[in-house]
Amino acid sequence: MSAQAYIALNRFGLGARPGEADALGDPARFLRDQVGNGAPLLPEFAAAPGSAQIMRELPERNRMRDMAEELLKQFRERFRSEMGLRFQHGFTSPTGFHERLVWFWANHFTISVTNLRMFAWPSSYEREAIRPHVSGRFIDMLLAVVRHPGMLLYLDNAQSIGPNSLAGKRIDRGLNENLAREILELHTLGVEGGYGQGDVLALAKILTGWSLKRGDEVVGEDAFNFFPNRHEPGGKTLLGVDYAEGYEEGVRALTALASHPSTARHVARKFARHFIADDPPVASVARLESVFNDTNGDLGALAAAVIEDEAAWQAEPRKMRAPVEYVTAAMRAFGGGAKMERKALDGLMNSCRLMGQFPYGAPSPKGWPDEAKAWAGPDAMLERVEWAHALAARLPQKPDASALARDILGPLMSEHSMTILARAADPVQGVALFLSSPEFQRR
């Protein structure tokens, strides 16, 4: 074979393919025949949209983008207005303890507005997944949480696909273990609850296919759907127990986690820390733990148990109010909040942010911290004290600080604080000092 054939293929052409040189014939002719006579393109390549088509599509695409942005803006707008209503409910509700339970559980199962899309969810999440279950069963709340768009989207499970599922084989996406990990670490067993990376993976696989219907597919009040074609086939082993495939096995796995002794310990510790003290008595935690175990996670019984606990009735305040609690308590102290302008509610929400806590804006799935040191940093303290003064200055009628203090905190006010209130330079300062007093900062 002459060198020319190879030159024709490699120098003139794109390079030889196997056997091509042998079949070539006259090299010069081989090349001449190609001039003005290219091989047909791959059909899909040839049929790809042309520039005119793209120009035709552009306005529609821009319109869709604008609509998407508009929708996100609406989500944020609705979030602000609904969080304002939630605030207002707290300002006026005669059932403060019930509301505190809602806040506690919403924080236990945190979702957060980490991006614009997330603004869509907190309000309905709290109403649908948290509120109905605060005196119900833990497993029911867990299931409602894990099936809710707020959680499925916040911790990415809606997009998680079993690598060996029908959908997983077809498209280039797969498993996301985020939700599974946080269920084990934060929602149920706790970080020292006795699970490993293998269990995280197993639960992630068990929860593949737990996702959401969209648009017209959503019928009734529940967008949740189990998609068998995204579900990882085959058995999984979670905490030594075997699970088969399917939705019901996922429910069985979550049920097992909900009634696991580590979950009782984890929940009891958090509950006692929230309602009793940063460092709650061991006996209180143990009592709550056994109530949780004995009632198979009856959250009403858990709430009743903390009411029964003497440690929760000590006169000395053991907890620092978190910013949202603090602002709420201040508004309640003036009997305000029944009628509030949107702008004022926005302002309060912003104040909470400056004190370190934006509603449904926790920095991570762990939720807000529940210890004084998280809220009593120098900067946050100054923010509170200044906010108290700004609020007092804005009150249309300034109440007498001493009378207000007696009305709101009664004998819980110390003599020392009452003396300082009595000596205030003017009514605004007096009210501000009351709101800044250690007795009001704590609970």
Binding site: S160, V191, Q197, G356, A376, G377, D379, M381, E383
Partner: protein, 401 residues
Amino acid sequence: MRISRRTLLNGLAAGSGLAAMQGWARLAFAGAPGDARLIVMILRGGLDGLAAVPAIGDPAYASARGALAIGEGAHRLDDTFALNPALKGFAEFWRKGELAVIHAIASPYRERSHFDAQNVLENGTARANGAEGWLNRALGTIAGKSARDALAIAQSVPLILQGEHQVSSWMPGVLPETDPDYLNRVMALYENDPALRSALDDALQIRAMAEDAAGAPLKGSGGMQAARGPYNLVPLAKAAGALIGKEGGPRIAVLEANGWDTHAGQGAGEGQLARRLGNLDEALTAFAGAMGPAWAKTAMLVVTEFGRTVAVNGTNGTDHGTGGAAFAMGGAIKGGQVVADWPSLSRGALHEGRDLKATADLRSLFKGALMATLGLDADVLSRTIFPDSADVKPLTSIFRV
């Protein structure tokens, strides 16, 4: 042979005398105001070290990273490593010899919980439950220290600075200036509540310093409102730099930035993570500028709680991993070097088949920085500051001392 005290002193005076004297001098002045600064910035959420500092020269890099592999625009550091295209300012620090990169590094923690990992990073032990920060213990070694020697740019003091010794925290405020008489009375209210009292006292002192640094009250100006926005670090970094760089400013400072937990839609040379890196890059450039001459005496460490999985996950992001990258920047850094005992990205070399293996311990970086800036000795570091860490050797090669 028995060495008498006199012989030893003579020996010092004669041979190695000069070096020893300098050593002593450094220790003696460790507590002096205006000396070297140690700044730690914590990137919370788990920064993907292979996105920030891609190992583009690793033969396995492109295939291991798949869709996350960074092609065009990366700033070459050496044959193996480059900086993410978004890190333009970092590349400039590198050029000036003020940036060193430490790669394949992690805390001793080997699980994958953010919160435990951050605890370990901050408490300086190998366990998640220590409730005292290593920088607080380090602060304890400064002679004549006050709460203003350690400052957190945060509303609340993060664990790394919590502990026995008083520290301060600061964020720019937005409310109008409050009547000093009122604040004095609040201080009186807190007479029997030491926690609230010291928090407020520190806040007032720091504010006075910050206003002094800025040359004007920081309250009530529109610009400072933006400084607290969640997505833009730049204004806050600038204000913090001016405060920390001030004559007599804090010896130790901590900054934080959230949002590095990129489980979905992470992007490569462009995209979500690159945008965040770009903002960090701009913020630290502004920070260094605002520090003024003090930057020349600064060692700033930028660290995260863990790296992320090498391979892309099912949602075009990465999950919690192990080894990652850390940055050391400032005039106290011998820059222009990447320190890495590189474990390779080939499948067999990965930790548990998924993560970049950690071949260095973050505590070695912290130890080196404490030696260089506060003059601590290796023994104190291994026993007190980082308990039971004698086997973790200080990384000294990247510090100018």
